[in-house]
């Protein structure tokens, strides 16, 4: 059976769908999470690298500036001390000479102070140079020491030679060593620059790599997401199509059910009317003949039995006729829609006392069987509704044909109902029948306002093709 297979298939699809839903959730979470993590890591790395570079640079620059400052102080003091020594040696006034001497001592203290300060910050690479500088400076001061105790006379005679022979060369040595330290400091600074540049370059490479990785991961993720979405969309479309097909099939099935029900009613109605009814009528005639042929006076009990049999047959004929008409009025097949509607209206009137006004001017017998049946059945159901629920006094059944459209209206002056809330009342069945014929069905009703049922149907031309379809 097709239904069983379908159900199994759907179950399989459902479980697969659940699986896929979980799988894709995990994959999307991992994908997007990974991408975000990658970007965050790249950011942290760049911050760290930049901070390292900045710190390195600052410490190197500080040490360079300290060295530079110390050397400047030293050099200036050295130059100054040179000129003071010269003044002192060439001075004849002892008072002024004494002043020069004390200034010289102060200078020496200044220089010692600068060196001591710098000593704390001397980089390892400069330690030997620094020691040499210290030694040179000590040598300078020691070479100068005897001259400081000289008399004015001694200064005058030995002074110039002492300056050019002892003091100035030593001063030159100190200056050279200081220059060496300066140069080394300069080199260190340059090396630092290069190192920073290298660090930057490697950072840039890494940044590019991370960027490329993020981009490709993002692209892959987007690709996966897009294809997944497309597949879901395709699935949804497919399912929608499936539902549409199923609905169409259902509609076809319901149409063919209605059709075959109608066929059966027609057949049973015919059979009842033409066979059973005819036979019972024949039986009645025969019973009459039998009664005529029988000597009544001799057998009154037989005459009574015959009478009973005749009554029974008469009742049966009437029952059969009513059943047949209720199943499907023969007028519908013999004379078309309008006589059938008129009969139905009379029946309802007779049954319920409700006035039923049928107006169907210009509706001929050439309407297709399907259409006539549809209109007849809808009107019949509507009249039954009116009879049972509406408490109407009058119902107007109107059929109008304009061009290729046929309009059926059933309006009553009954108590009405809320057509937005209440369904049922056979309305669904009517709407279904109408939709089988490609028509439109509408119910307008409000409590206290009566009910109007409107049906609009396309008229099919009754030609060979239409007939062939009806078979």
């Amino acid at each position: 059976m097709a239904g069983g297979t379908d159900t199994g298939y759907d179950l399989m699809r459902d479980s697969a769908a659940v699986h896929v839903r979980f799988g894709s959730k995990l994959a999307l979470l991992a994908g997007f999470g990974g991408l975000l993590l990658l970007i965050a890591l790249a950011g942290a790395d760049s911050v760290r690298v930049l901070r390292t570079i900045e710190q390195n640079h600052r410490s190197i620059t500080e040490s360079y500036l300290a060295g530079r400052h110390a050397m400047d102080t030293l050099q200036q003091a050295l130059w100054h001390s040179g000129s003071l020594v010269r003044d002192y040696v060439l001075q004849s006034d002892p008072v002024v000479a004494e002043e020069d001497l004390s200034a010289l001592r102060r200078l020496r203290q200044e220089m010692e102070e600068a060196l001591r300060k710098y000593a704390a910050e001397v980089p390892q690479a400069q330690e030997s140079n620094f020691a040499e500088l210290r030694a040179d400076l000590d040598d300078y001061w020691q070479a100068m020491a005897p001259a400081l105790r000289w008399t004015a006379q001694e200064r005058k005679s030995l002074g110039y030679g002492f300056l050019t022979g002892e003091v100035f060369p030593r001063r030159e040595a100190v200056l050279q060593t200081a220059g060496k330290i300066d140069a080394l400091n300069e080199l260190a600074l340059q090396a630092d620059d290069r190192r920073s540049a290298a660090l930057f370059a490697s950072f840039r490479r890494r940044a590019f790599a991370v960027l490329a990785l993020s981009l490709s991961a993002g692209l892959a993720l987007a690709g996966v997401a897009v294809s997944r979405i497309l597949r879901l969309e395709r699935d949804a479309r497919w399912r929608y199509q499936e539902i549409v097909t199923a609905r169409e099939e259902l509609q076809r099935l319901s149409a063919s059910l209605v059709q075959s029900q109608e066929e059966e009613r027609r057949a049973i109605s015919r059979e009842l009317h033409d066979e059973v009814g005819q036979s019972l009528s024949a039986l009645l005639v025969d019973l009459g003949n039998l009664a005529a042929a029988m000597p009544h006076r001799d057998h009154p009990e037989l005459a009574q039995m015959l009478g009973t049999a005749r009554n029974l047959a008469e009742t049966s004929v009437q029952a059969v006729r009513n059943m047949s008409l209720l199943l499907r009025p023969s007028m519908l097949d013999d004379f078309g829609l309008v006589p059938a509607l008129n009969w139905q209206a009379r029946e309802v009137s007779r049954r319920s006392g409700m006035r039923v006004v049928v107006s169907a001017d210009g509706i001929g017998e050439d309407l297709s069987d399907r259409l006539s049946t549809c209109i007849y059945r809808v009107a019949q159901a509507a009249l039954v509704n009116c009879e049972r629920h509406s408490e109407a006094r009058t119902v107007w059944v109107t059929v109008r044909q304009t061009g290729s459209r046929l309009a059926l209206t059933i309006a009553d002056d009954g108590k009405g109902f809320d057509s937005r809330k209440i369904r049922g009342l056979g309305l669904l069945g009517m709407a279904e029948r109408v939709s089988h014929q490609g028509g439109e069905f509408e119910v307008e009703s409000e409590p206290g306002q009566g009910t109007v049922i409107k049906v609009d149907l396309p008229v099919e031309v009754k030609d060979g093709l239409a007939r062939a379809e009806e078979v």
């Binding site: 005639v285 003949n289 005529a292 008469e314 004929v317 006729r321 008129n342």
Partner: protein
Amino acid sequence: MNKIRILLADDHTVMRAGLRLLLERQEDMTVVAEAEDGRQATELADAHNPDVAVLDIAMPSLNGIECARQIVARHPKTPVVILSMHSDESYVLRALKAGARAYLLKDSAESDLIRAIRAVRDGKSFFSPAVSKLLLEDYVRQVQDKGEEDSYELLTGREREILQLLAEGRSNKDVANLLNLSLYTVETHRGHILQKLGLHTVPDLILYAVRKGIIR
């Protein structure tokens, strides 16, 4: 006395046999031909030119109404009695329009057929009481529903007289002879009657008369 020569058409053999027995029992009737479908019935009518044709409606090849139309057209002197299972007015009206003079329900054939045949032989119409009762009831209800004045009241005494005779199936000429009127006067009266009653044809008029209980 000449017997009434009857054509009997019904596709139901047992029914036909029963009816034949019923008719043959009458001293003044004889069944001259039996047909089992409409086409055969018209052929036999041509061959035998019967006094009365009794036709079923539901027959193969040609239904009783069409058959009646053909027989009436070819043999205006042969009145047609329709014997049917159908009681609805649409059948009665169509049978009358086709020219039938009597309409009987099969289940009342045993009691009504003989009377109907004699009535049509005498130029009158006949309807099963069950049929005329249904028609009358519907008419009364219609008049009540519409709440309009019964249009019968609009007819003059002479017109009512003529209506009854016409409804019984008499021709204009017969009516003129019976009432000592000119044919032209009868035709004028007939026009007035149809107009006043809102009818169009003589069958309409017969149906009206049956509904009103003027004839039965």
